[in-house]
Structure formats: C-alpha cells, structure tokens
C-alpha cells in the first residue's frame, strides 16, 4: 500500500485547488443536508403534536380541522364510545376545540399571514400536559383573554404579552400569556376560550374537531368502528399521529423534492470540479507515478491510492458542508403549511441519519469524480512516464 500521508501531503501542497474543490463539494453537501434538516424539522414539529394513544374525530370528508364542524351535542356521543379513557374524576377524556384562522400583519410590515386561533376549554388545556405557560398566565375561562405560542410571539403585530388582537369587529382578544408545547405545532397558534372564539367566528354550539384519549394505542380500531358506524353522526376518526403526519406530507414532500433536485444538479457540477482537479493531479504527477510503478507498486494499488485521495478531498468538503449546515440549527424557518394555509414556524433539525447521508453523498462525488482520473493514473506506463 502507498502510505496515506502521501495523499495528505499532496492535498496540502496544492492548497488553493484542494480548497476550491472541497468547497464545491461542501456547498452541495450543505444544500442537501439543509433541505433534509428542514423536512425533518417540519415533520417533527407536526408529529410532536400527535400522541400514539389519542385519536381525532372530524366530519366525514374533511382533511383538516378548519373545514370540519361537529355539533356540541355530538361531542358527548363521541366521548361515550368504547375504549375512551376515563379521567380521575370518572369523566371520559374527550375535548372539542374550535379552530379558525385570522389574518395578521408581520411585525416588520413586510406582509400578512394567517395564524390558527384555537378555542379550548379548561379540559382542553389539561388534555395536553406538554403545554406550559412560560410568561404571564393562563387565560381565564369565559373571557376574551388569549395566550400565544412561543414561536409566533413577537413575530406578528399585537401577538405579544399585553397585545390586543382583533378577532372580528368589537371582539378583541387580550394576550395574557405565552406558552410552550414541547416544540409542537401548537406553538404556532393562538389559544383562547372556546365560547369566546366560537362566537367571534360564528361557531356557536359547535366545535371543529374532537380529540379523545384512548385507553391504549391498540384501542383505536374499536373506537373508530363505533364512531363511524353511526351514520347519523357522519364522522371520521383518525389516529392523532397519522393526522399530523398527513398534515406535514404535502409541505415536506415539496421541500425535500426541491432540495434533492437541486442537490443532484449541484452534485454534477461539484463532481466535474473534483474530476478536473484529479485529472490535473494525475497529469502533474506523471513522473511520480512512473517511479511508484518502477518501485513495484501494482496498478491496483495506484488506482486505489488516487481514488482514496479523491474521496479524502470530497469528504473534507463534506465535513465543511455539514459543519455549515449544523450552524443553521439556530435559524427559525417560517412558512405556510399547505394543509391549513396558515403559518407554521419550525427549525432545521439535524439527525445522525441526515448527516451520514449527506456525508456519504459527498463521498460518492469523490468516488465518481475520481474514478476516471485514477484509472488514467493506473494505466501510466512506467518507462515513458519517467522519461517525461
């Protein structure tokens, strides 16, 4: 084997070229990793809102809470379905929320966007134990007080402690608290009293969707059968986690498809960059290769050595790219969720899988870009090469 230090020194000698090529690969790895991290961030934000042992009931045909309505009277019927868990006080754990959207101005005045407003009962708040008020207090039931998610706080006009949000004419909502909910999509919402919100949006006597706590994740089928069997109710039950996975599907497919298309395009460019560099390296070291061959190193060993150098070069770039992508962890990304047409805020979420995938992708560029030059190096005839 040719020692690894031979390759390392070669890379060090031609610093500018090495750096330029590695940067090219690094940018590709960066773009790929960033888009995968974004998709993962969105998926995680939404899936954190769903629990395995909970189910969500909506009107048949609705695919989101906004377009669904269920009469208050039906909530009791849903709660009495089999496999619904009972609370400490013996009442079934089932809550109905009113969900609507409002149109708000961005703080910097650069536009407007929709935010989800959720009207909940005090049971509804207790139903989500992950919810924690981090500033101010919980809104008092029966009043026009609301609390806002930490992720949207301060991003939109009046969406901050002490702010007054106009739900409709003469229906103001005063922000008294800021809450966290374990990073879930609830943190991009405004929460108020169910009746107050319901009246503001003309939803008196009805809720948008009903969530129930099941006695076990396996209880879903029996519960769903009971709810859907009653044709008069006209309802559909979905496991809560599945509901949120579906909600992120369109947007995350969109982001990852775009990221992958772009990364593939870019990688061709970076691969060619690596190929040019490696061809240059091989041409420059022709006489060296001749000497190596004359010393008795086989063609295979030379091929492997040059291929290795190319992979090393691209892995160097890959590490740079991953490093830069990890730096994005602090950035919050805010965009419209296609499912609800309202704003959702999420972060770039790195996982070991994503980092390994991106690095392997970078390494592959080195293999593909370095293969042809390495073959050329291996086919060098010793005598001619040494003669120059």
């Amino acid at each position: 084997m040719i020692p690894i230090s031979y390759n390392l020194r070669n890379l060090a000698v031609r610093r500018t070229t090495t750096l330029a090529t590695a940067l090219g690969v690094g940018l590709v790895v960066f773009v790929l990793a960033a888009s995968l991290m974004l998709t993962e961030g969105l998926r995680r934000t939404l899936s954190l809102s769903g629990h395995d042992d909970a189910a969500i009931v909506m009107r048949k045909g609705s695919d989101n809470e906004l377009s669904s309505t269920i009469a208050d009277a039906q909530v009791g019927q849903i709660a009495s379905a089999p496999r619904v868990k009972k609370g400490a006080d013996g009442r079934p754990l089932a809550v109905g929320d009113v969900v609507a959207v409002i149109f708000v101005d961005l703080v910097n005045g650069s536009g407007k966007t929709n935010l989800v407003v959720r009207g909940v009962t005090s049971d509804g708040i207790a139903f989500r134990p992950e919810l924690k008020v981090v500033e101010g207090t919980l809104p008092r039931p029966g009043t026009g007080e609301v609390m806002v998610g930490r992720k949207i706080e301060g991003r939109f006009n009046a969406v901050q402690l002490g702010g007054e949000i106009e739900l409709r004419k003469n229906r103001m909502a005063k922000v008294v608290g800021v809450f966290e909910a374990a990073g879930s999509s609830y943190e991009s919402e405004i929460w108020g009293d169910k009746d107050y919100v319901g009246q503001a949006f003309g939803r008196e006597g009805m809720v948008s969707a009903v969530r129930v706590q099941l006695d076990s994740p396996g209880g879903f089928d029996e519960f769903a059968l009971a709810v859907e069997q009653d044709k008069r109710l006209g309802l559909d039950a979905i496991p809560e986690r599945e509901f949120y996975e579906k909600a992120s599907e369109n947007t995350s497919v969109f982001i990852s498809a775009m990221g992958i298309i772009i990364a593939v395009f870019f990688s061709i460019g970076a691969m060619i960059g690596a190929m040019i560099t490696m061809y240059g390296t091989v041409a420059n070291r022709r006489s060296e290769i001749g000497v190596l061959r004359a010393l008795g190193f086989s063609r295979t060993v030379i091929l492997v050595s040059f291929l290795f150098e190319s992979v090393l070069l691209s892995l160097l770039g890959g590490l740079l790219g991953i490093g830069a992508a990890l730096g994005l962890g602090m950035v919050e990304f805010s965009m419209m969720n296609f499912q609800t047409f309202s704003e959702i805020v999420f972060t770039f979420q790195p996982t070991p899988d994503i980092l390994v995938t991106a690095l392997v992708f970078g390494g592959m560029m080195g293999v593909l870009g370095g293969l042809l030059p390495a073959i050329r190096a291996a086919r060098t005839a010793p005598i001619e090469a040494m003669r120059g």
């Binding site: 500018t16 070229t17 330029a20 090529t21 940067l23 090219g24 940018l27 590709v28 960066f30 773009v31 009107r59 048949k60 045909g61 609705s62 695919d63 906004l66 377009s67 609507a100 959207v101 409002i102 149109f103 961005l106 650069s110 536009g111 407007k112 966007t113 929709n114 106009e166 739900l167 409709r168 004419k169 949006f201 003309g202 006209g234 982001i255 775009m258 772009i262 395009f265 870019f266 061709i268 460019g269 970076a270 060619i272 960059g273 190929m275 040019i276 560099t277 061809y279 240059g280 041409a283 420059n284 990304f333 805010s334 965009m335 419209m336 047409f341 704003e343």
Partner: protein
C-alpha cells in the same frame, strides 16, 4: 495570430479539461436558469394578475364567508360607486377527484349570470356557455384540467366534497381557454345555486352564504378608490370586508412563501459560487502548468498586461462557451418540463417557461464570473519574473 486568437486557441490545449469545465459551467447554468425560472413562474402569476379586478372578502380571514345579501348591495352600487363595471360572487367548494385525490385543483361555485362578465380573460364558446347556464348541475372546466383527467364536454363526473360533505354529481358542459398568462387553466366552475339549494336541504345555516365577491372596474387607476368605497359600505356591519386588487391579493399570498422564495434565491447564488470555483480552479491550473510559456512570452517582449489578457481572455471564452452550451441544454429541458408542469400543476404554475431576461442574465453572469475567477490567476501570471518563470518546472 491576434492575442485574442491565441488565448482562445489555448483553451483547446487540454481538451479533456476544457470539455469538463465547459460541461461543468453548463450544468451549473442549467441549474441556475431552472431555479430562476421557477421563481419567475411563481411570482409571475402575481405580476401578470389583473389589476382591474377587485376581490372583496371577510375582513378577518378568507376562510370565513359573507352573507349573500352583500352581493345584492354591491351589485346595486353600479352607478352609486363610480367605476364598477360588473360584479360577481363565488364560494370555494374544495372538492376532490374521487380516485386521484392527491391532485389538487380549484373547485368554485359561481354565479352563472355574471361570472364571465367579470372574468373577461376566460373564454368559453357561446353555445357551451348557453348550455351551461341551462344545466343546474353543469360545470365549465379549464383546458388544463380537461387534459389532466381526460374529461370532455358531455362527461358526467362525481367529486367528493371536503368542505361540503358528500358526493356531488356534475356534467361537463364547457371548457374555457385563457386569454391571459396568469389565468389558472385548471379550475372547475359550477352553479352556486346548485350548492345553495343542496345546503338549504342539508344544512340551512350554511345556505345563502358566499365566499367572496369580485368586481371589474373601469379604470385601474381608480382601483384603490373603488376598493375603499366598497369597504366603507360594510364598515358599520357585523361582518366587515376587505377589498383589494387581484394582483395585491396574489402578492400577499406569495408573502406567505417568503421564506422559501428567499431560500431559492440564496440557492441560486450558491450555484454561481460553485460555477466560479470550477472556473477558477481550471484557470489556476492551466496558469500553473504554463508558467514556462509565459516566461518565454515575456522574454520575447510581451508585456505583463498581455499575459494578464491571455489568462482573462481564456477564462471568459470558457465561461461564454459553457454559458452557451448550458442555455442550449436549458431550453429543451426546462421548457419541456415546463409544459408538463403547466399541464399538471397549473394551479400553482399557470405559466412555466424560461423568461428571456433570465437567459440573457445567466449568459452575462457566466462570462462575468469567468472573468472574476480569472482575475487572481491573471494577476499572478502578470507578476511573474522572466528568469523565475523560465526556470520553473511543471
């Protein structure tokens, strides 16, 4: 041989490298043009949208509806609000194809009498329009939608409601074509009355409601005034309205994707950096290999600026060549794909073709970046000392 001729001749010295570099630049350019075309197609919908059409909706959010009586009042403003030429109303129906439910298209319940008076940029053959008005369950669909699902006039179709539950039966009575670029060619339009009558039976609370109203005004200059006059009319009501031009509405919608648009912008910049790295690398390499020759040229009496020009000229020539090859690839590739996108994703991208200014900009950028990438190697080459250069090996 002229200096320019010599520098271009130099490009073909290392054929393999030249071909690879040109190909690399071409691919980068292709990616750049693709991203810019996507951005343009996205924002273009807004820029080409009508300014002489105003939309009036619920002040709080477009997801809430208005009483139908609002339209009667607005329609009555013909004359009382100067500048209103025609008005219509519609409701978002939000139905899906029963089988291919992933494929999104707009389903809208419209007022048959007034819709096409306001939407002058959609054209329907007169006999189809008449037949549609007669048939309560009739629908008029866009040409792209007809192609997507293979529907033609006379077909019976069933859609599944998401907002209005149940199976809804329609008969296709006509197909419209677009007279303006920004028109979504994949809408499904049917009688608001059909929806309203069904609602009266099934859910009386949802009857006599409309999603939004649209007015066509006479002069776009007075758009803001007319919009204010309409909103003023409903100012004291329980439900207030917000009126703005179609273009402003689209711009606002785009704002929601600001983060993605910015990300694409950044990415298109990144591709340019990659392009420059490839070019700079190649140029630096060839300068290094040719140090000897530059020494000879200097010894022959060429001035340092000539050497610099050689290097720059070679770089720009490669950039230009790469740019041209890239464009030659981009046109069939992107426009071909664009046609597919227009047919299948017409709701988002009604028009997806390379805009001329993108093609010109990208070519200019390829040359400019090649020039920039060559600056440092050119400077270095021009600073060479004759003796050193002649002595240097490899």
């Amino acid at each position: 041989m002229t200096l320019v001729g010599l520098s271009i001749k130099n490009v073909s010295r290392n054929r393999l490298r030249a071909v690879l570099t040109v190909f690399g630049v071409a691919i980068a350019l292709l990616a750049f043009v693709f991203i810019r075309t996507t951005l343009d197609a996205w924002t273009g919908g807004a820029e080409h949208a009508a300014q002489d059409r105003l939309g009036t909706m619920h002040k709080v959010t477009f997801t809430m509806d208005l009483p139908r009586t609002y339209f009667d009042e607005l329609d009555g403003t013909r004359g009382s609000v100067p500048g209103v030429k025609a008005a219509t109303y519609q409701s978002w129906f939000g139905a899906k194809h029963p089988v291919r439910e992933q494929e999104f298209f707009a389903t809208i319940a419209v007022d048959t009498d007034t819709f096409f008076q306001v939407y002058e940029d959609m054209e329907v053959p007169a006999e189809q329009l008449a037949a549609w008005k007669e048939d309560r369950q009739g629908a008029i669909i866009g040409e792209a939608l007809a192609k997507q699902f293979g529907w033609s006039v006379g077909d019976d179709v069933t859609l599944v409601g998401t907002i209005y539950p149940g199976d809804w039966k329609f008969t296709i009575e006509g197909i419209y074509t677009a007279k303006r670029r920004a028109v979504d060619k994949s809408q499904f339009l049917f009688h608001w009355k059909y929806l309203n009558e069904s609602m009266k039976e099934q859910a009386p609370a949802r009857a006599e409601r409309i999603g939004w109203m649209t007015t066509l005004i006479e002069g776009s200059a007075r758009g803001a005034e007319v919009a204010q006059a309409i909103d003023a009319r409903f100012e004291e009501r329980d439900i207030q309205t917000r009126t703005m031009s179609e273009r402003a509405l689209n711009m606002e919608f785009l704002g929601s994707f600001g983060a993605i648009l910015t990300a694409l912008d950044v990415v298109s910049g990144v591709i340019l950096v990659i392009m420059m790295l490839i070019l700079g690398n190649t140029i630096a390499m060839s300068v290094r290999e040719r140090t000897n020759e530059y020494g000879v040229l200097l010894a022959l009496g060429f001035r340092p600026k000539h050497i610099a020009l050689f290097v720059m000229g070679e770089g720009i020539a490669v950039g230009l060549l790469g740019g041209l090859v890239g464009l030659a690839l981009a046109y069939p590739f992107i426009n071909g794909m664009g046609r597919w996108i227009e047919d299948n994703m017409g709701s988002f991208f009604p028009y997806f073709q390379i805009p001329p200014h993108v093609a010109i900009t990208s070519l200019a950028l390829a040359m400019l970046l090649a020039g920039l990438a060559a600056v440092i190697p050119a400077y270095r080459a021009s600073r060479l000392d004759v003796i050193d250069a002649l002595r240097r090996i490899g």
